[in-house]
């Protein structure tokens, strides 16, 4: 019996070690030969992202177009939430299916690109793509 208990103990130790806490953001890719920008029916909302430093918080975001200037992810989230059209009567500009194009520059750290993507997902938009740097 002690044998069995030890075996179970070893099994659970090993099993918990291997189960990593990973999750993912699904992203649909446009078909080959079609530019991401061209395939969109609507003009996408372009979010420019760049890294200002080596840390998670060192991120700079900017909206392309005639929108209010934003600096941080918190402001981006506020903007996206305020402008989302949730059915009848809401004053939002963008439907939840409105294309959002996250465009990090060449040197942007991957965590910052993902953080911007996460902000758009958190704001309950569904059509988000990572564009050309």
């Amino acid at each position: 019996m002690i044998d069995v208990v030890f075996l179970l103990l070893i099994y659970f130790m090993v099993a918990t070690e291997f189960r990593r806490a990973e999750a993912s953001f699904p992203m649909d890719l446009p078909a080959e030969g079609r530019n991401i920008e061209v395939m969109l029916d609507e003009e996408p909302l372009v979010v420019l992202v760049e890294s200002a430093g080596r840390f998670t918080r060192d991120i700079r975001v900017q909206l392309e177009g005639p929108w209010d200037s934003i600096q941080s992810l918190a402001e981006l989230k506020k903007f996206l939430r305020a402008n989302r059209a949730d059915g009848f009567g809401s004053g939002g500009l963008f439907t939840p299916e409105h294309p959002i194009l996250i465009r990090p520059n060449r040197e942007t750290r991957w965590e910052h690109a993902v953080a911007a993507y996460n902000t758009a997902v958190q704001s309950r938009y569904t059509n988000i793509t990572l564009g050309k740097p």
Binding site: V14, S24, F25, P26, A31, T56, R109, V114, N118, P133
Partner: protein, 144 residues
Amino acid sequence: MKRSAAITLNANMTPMIDVTFLLIVFFVVVSQIVDRDVVPLDLPAPENAAAMVTIAENTMVINVIPLSDGSVAGIVVGPHTIGTNEMEKLSSIVGQGLANGTSEVHLRADRSTQYQYIHQVIEAVRSVGGNPRVHLVVDMEAKL
């Protein structure tokens, strides 16, 4: 005539059960290692990640191996290791996977990797066609 005493034959089961358990544990562990062809990476961990935990049968995992300066040492897909200038090879591996029933491509990259390299990988997957779904893998144990 002498009556033979009743003989009861008892097989000792304990060692067999021991061995069986050991085999079960071994195969469970090994199958987990083989299934998750995952390279240890420092994945991005966004605050309050709205990511979802996906358990899909036919996934292909693309691991982008980082260098300390933000560039990429290579790309590991299952048993294949691909150099940064061999994106056609990556496309053909992904194409073969899709032909063999892969439905999802998981992209694992280090948090410090520069986006220009990851974009190359995304483009390589996109050029395969067939609209594969790419999953951007993040760490849910937020280490900030």
